[in-house]
Symmetry: C2
Subunit: 879 residues, 2 copies
Amino acid sequence: MSKKYVYLFTEGKGLGKELLGGKGANLAEMTSLGMPVPQGFVVSTEACAKYTKDGKKISSDVEKQIFEGIKDLETQYGKKFGCANDPLLVSVRSGSRASMPGMMDTILNLGLNEKSVEGLAKKTDNPRFAYDSYRRFIQMFSDVVMEQKKEVYDKILKNYKDAQGYKLDTDMTADDWKQIVKTFKENYKQNQGSDFPEDPKIQLLEATKAVFRSWDNERANIYRLDHGIPYEWGTAVNIQVMVFGNKGNTSGTGVAFTRDPSTGERKLYGEYLMNAQGEDVVAGIRTPNKIEELEKQNPAIYKQFCDTVYKLEKHYKDMQDTEFTIEDGKLYMLQTRSGKRTAKAAVKIAVDLVNEKMIDIKTALCMIDPKQLDALLHPTFIEKDLKACKPCGYGLPASPGAACGTIVFSAKRAAKLKEADPKAQLILVRHETSPEDIAGMKASQGILTATGGMTSHAAVVARGMGTCCVCGCTQISEIDEEKGIVVINGKSYKEGDWLSLDGTAGNIYEGKLPTEIPGEITGDFATIMEWADKHRALKIRTNADTPNDTKQAIIFGAEGIGLCRTEHMFFDHILAMREMIVSKTLEQRQVALAKLLPIQRDDFKGIFTSLKGMPATVRLLDPPLHEFVPHTDEDIQILANEMGLDFAELKKTIESLHEFNPMMGHRGCRLSVTYPEIAAMQTRAIIEAAIEVSKETGVNVTPEIMIPLIGEIKELKFVKDIVVATADSIIKESGSKIKYMVGTMIEIPRAALLADEIASEAEFFSFGTNDLTQMTYGFSRDDAGKFLEDYIDKKIFEADPFTTLDQKGVGQLITMSVEKGRAARKNLKIGVCGEHGGDPASIMFFHKAGLEYVSCSPFRVPIARLSAAQANIKFPRKK
Amino acid sequence: MSKKYVYLFTEGKGLGKELLGGKGANLAEMTSLGMPVPQGFVVSTEACAKYTKDGKKISSDVEKQIFEGIKDLETQYGKKFGCANDPLLVSVRSGSRASMPGMMDTILNLGLNEKSVEGLAKKTDNPRFAYDSYRRFIQMFSDVVMEQKKEVYDKILKNYKDAQGYKLDTDMTADDWKQIVKTFKENYKQNQGSDFPEDPKIQLLEATKAVFRSWDNERANIYRLDHGIPYEWGTAVNIQVMVFGNKGNTSGTGVAFTRDPSTGERKLYGEYLMNAQGEDVVAGIRTPNKIEELEKQNPAIYKQFCDTVYKLEKHYKDMQDTEFTIEDGKLYMLQTRSGKRTAKAAVKIAVDLVNEKMIDIKTALCMIDPKQLDALLHPTFIEKDLKACKPCGYGLPASPGAACGTIVFSAKRAAKLKEADPKAQLILVRHETSPEDIAGMKASQGILTATGGMTSHAAVVARGMGTCCVCGCTQISEIDEEKGIVVINGKSYKEGDWLSLDGTAGNIYEGKLPTEIPGEITGDFATIMEWADKHRALKIRTNADTPNDTKQAIIFGAEGIGLCRTEHMFFDHILAMREMIVSKTLEQRQVALAKLLPIQRDDFKGIFTSLKGMPATVRLLDPPLHEFVPHTDEDIQILANEMGLDFAELKKTIESLHEFNPMMGHRGCRLSVTYPEIAAMQTRAIIEAAIEVSKETGVNVTPEIMIPLIGEIKELKFVKDIVVATADSIIKESGSKIKYMVGTMIEIPRAALLADEIASEAEFFSFGTNDLTQMTYGFSRDDAGKFLEDYIDKKIFEADPFTTLDQKGVGQLITMSVEKGRAARKNLKIGVCGEHGGDPASIMFFHKAGLEYVSCSPFRVPIARLSAAQANIKFPRKK
């Protein structure tokens, strides 16, 4: 017996979405609940996989099972496929495991041809209906199967109506539709070079193939990437007996949610149209009625519908998004699924369902997509304004939120404009940002870059600041800072022009769109967060470099700092930093370091004070030194004057800092090996700040000093010795009793491979997953944008590994490090501070890998709290 | 009982060099053989480790054992340490596990003070001898223990002799020496601020500490690095009763080898001086006699000495380097060890010892240092000329051999000069070379760069070409191409000045030193190679990109090509390549590729023909495209003219290729993902060449097509599909039956981690250890030079991981890949083609890891053959 690829709705109960797709599984479920579902069958996702594997062909056994399904429907309904008397008509719809609304294609009224349309007309005594159905079928078939734009047919229809003086489709008579059918078919032949297929079997097979194919269309691919749906899943095809909402005034069709998907309020929310098929509701040709009006129009049907959908809500224990059709006064359910909802609604519904005792807290926590919470933390555009306008371009959604401002092309200029007018709203447009742009980035509402990925400098810094950012906008063909011009999608914008950025979607809009700012964490959101905290095992820390960031993160629920990047502090005091870098002798360098010491100490004091005793991991200087030095002659001259140096000599020194691959160059602990005095100064600043804050506030500060970029145990030992010697002597002198820890980042593959050795010297590990991903893949995150797009287009990658952790490769190193590290040091503290610390899928992995905490940017803390709870609910950690 | 740290020579037999050091172990051995050895004891290497661990202090138990040793010697010899009548005098010498001739320090005549010198004078009835010994002791003690340059004392002595009108030391009387001792001690006090120590116990402890300390001196550290001797080993200290060659004319001292260390000829080879102590022979104050003359002077002693040293040679089964002293007509052996020898001698001695049936072939193979063979393949300077002149600078010994030429600062100019005068001898001096310098590098005898490490572009290419190269010369403070000036160690050289480079040692000399060119592989060298081939399990392939390189490598014994870099071919046809790169459309690119196709095909034909059926692994295009594009406006203009493009637009295109970290950028298989047509063209060239050569020569060519930089199975599959589709269609069309393989490099950590998946698509693996080392450490090989020096100075690294494979980290990934790869595909072919393929220690690892072959540059093939034999002798592989 050959494998089963086709399942009747009556056979499908409990077989699951993986096999039947969401729509098919729910239709089978509704059938088993005795609800009024037009019967049909599902061609399974396995058939889709087979289709792809067989070189995009439907194999004979699948074909055979499809027509057995048809035969079964013929028997059930006493109709015949392609019959001239009483034809069986079906719809063909896609349905994948995950809901992908509107992403794939649907064909209705399949089975109509020259003969059966007449049969339908006779049988229903409604030729107008029959030909209306036929023309719809031709149009959908042409569009979906033959890829002929449906607009062509819309235009034919419009021209016809105009010629006849008709305004509405309801003005059309049977003969009008007949004429339209004729014109449509002529058009089809002209375009396709062959007649519109008469054989319903061919129609069905072609339609099935088209649905399989639609899994790979551009819309679907983009949606899949956005939602992390694997290409392998494939889609099922649902073939279902037609019911008709367009049979006359006692027929109709509609969609409804059991709760308001925008607010979450518990009330039926939807629309319907009488004498119409499904797409009429969506297409907006006629204005649909609110669902409430159905109660007046047909109270019995309304009650039956309400009973059904709330039964479904109770059955599925979630807000339902349903489709229905009324045929000749009889209700049919065409679909039910968990409804998409806004973040606000998601939170309210989850809390309400718990209060209504429909679900427990764990289920509530698991039903919210953590990523959605972003929308509750950043200013956003108003939904309806967005709908009204088209983006003028798009890039990567690098840092969420909405921002409007006038274009400015240099960070310096942005800072200057902001100083002149503190209320100035600015959008900084750059090829890519660099650390010296920080001040200008802070001065801007939004940042738009032409290159760079989700973890480019602009993206990381913007997320850290909570500033909206769209990066890697490949549609920018030119940025001319001198002329003050940026060209997006061929259109030129100049300094001072208004742009609006949607950092959540990655869209760019012309002009100034209004925004709304959601409040802080209160109400239902706060309830969810409280519940999440009770259920998670992972601690959530934040990546923060300033007291302000720290305070913000604590408001969002952070339990400490997982990564304090000390270099960010230096950009505010860049001259002293530069002096330190270009020093030629130890003495010169120490003079410059002495200037930096009090600044760093004060910064740490501010941070430690904000933390009120929560832990803080402080990373020693990490980036290559040349990132800090001036690159223009003008800036070099300023530094030369400041230091009393010769311009030419200074320029030479700066040039000597150039590296071919700075990411793998003289940075991280390698700086401390060459210049131990830098590590000593930083340790002094940290320890002195800790002692002072402990004294002043009476709260014990226990800094965790983190040495970055370790690849070798002796390297760690070398730097650690400097840290310990410095710290211990300061503590001894001060008479204080503060404690501190020394640990390392695991971000070099070799450190992961030798984690047992490393753990013998490190008191804690923190995974730097950005660098670890870079090195494990050999990808420069600053350059990968250029080819990652091709990788995703060509389905080599399903996600950007800088956004979602690569569990197979990078994850293997992490698991290895955890095992080896804990074997060597039982109480080794392990966390993660890379960008992945705020990504839900990655957090799930970190939870399973047994980490103690994740650390992420302040605005991702709530997402991490919820994700950690979901992880622990799905994979409970032993206490 | 406390641990034993001190061993009498009579106790030491068989305890080994690890514990006693080489010198100590051999003294114990000679003692046990009944040879005339002045007795003494060894303070073990464990004591040295304890000294380091204890914070550079000699612990009380070690001290106690030392003086117990002294007591034992006092008993044996009936003398007393520090005694005013018949004092026990000792020498204190270092002796580490590996022979480090002259690298560490020695003190003779220890035990002398104001009293005991008188005792010695009386006892020997030779006050001249006693005070001569005393002044020597003071001088050595000051030098070795107190770090006061011995030249100061030499000068005092010279001034004294001049004042007295003496020419030779033998002119000095007892009173003269007494006066010198007085002056020396005054000088000591003046310099050290304290009297010269009178207490022999203090003298001995200080001297012992000084020897321990000398393990860490600059000379020793450099030698250790050069010879890969671990710092941890430490040195033993040998304390031995003095015998005196300076007692008068029946006393003397000398050194002798059992065979000529330069040629290997079997004859006693050495020098001696009567009435002298050891350092006189070395210092060259008096001209020593040839050892043969001793036969005339004292035939009995000569015979006794000959018998002894040839007994030792037989005992140790190797050529011995011995030291002896004659005291009052009695022979004493002070040292024996395996003698250092030239490459030529090493090979001859090994073969001779087998012929003399003293050793078997395996032993012969293991006694030659494979690295030495280099000297037999490259031109070299003449030893005695080298000794006569001082280097004017040094860098890394990047590519061995000797080269003289006039300085030239640009590759273009080098090529031009060579074209004008094919006999021109040139030294190309650059900051660093780049691929576009290839022609100029080919035109030069030697290459000198200011930056870049052992695997920088210059180094790799030079080694590949067999061209002498010194790179990373940090003593170059300036290179001004425009002015035509390079400044080395503060001295300026201009274009046209002669320089001589010693690529084997890394030295730079002013002027033109004569060179000698050794022949090809013949005679004893050929015998050794033949033996090696019989004993090795690893196959040896070569990295070659041209028919010439290939032929050279085959002469040296290569069994195929392990890495043919296709990009090198493009530099000879750079315009077409550039055209391909800057193409904006697929069509443009295909036009350019069509120009490149016949060129590549011809190149491959040449290589396949040279190989006569031996296998060839051809790597698809690997480097970032921007390496190929012009960077000067002039060159951009030429390309613009050639392609009929606008200069400004072309310049923009080229700038858009810039990458922040090109090593981790758009290169390797990533190019084929973006531009599948490049992989298709290269496959076509390879397969068509293979078909044509198979037809023309009747020898089957089976190309191995290698896809570089793979990190993900789908990426490999994507490129493999292009290769297979192209290859199969060409083969089918041609009607040929040739076979080919498709494999990948393992050079990205992720590929190693997922080697099982990768092996499901790859028919072979080749480890690209250069990139694998870069990514595993996160080190850019082009930039690491800047900090690796600090790492080595600070003992964080003991070797450059780009030269000798890091077995713990990178090696772990290799072992993992081999296991996972073979588990997934049983007959997976595995080799290595990184620079490490020619490094003996790394070859040992690759053998143990179970690889099938190593591939290295042509001039390293003989080294690899011998290394592979040694590996299989030490760790025999199951057949």
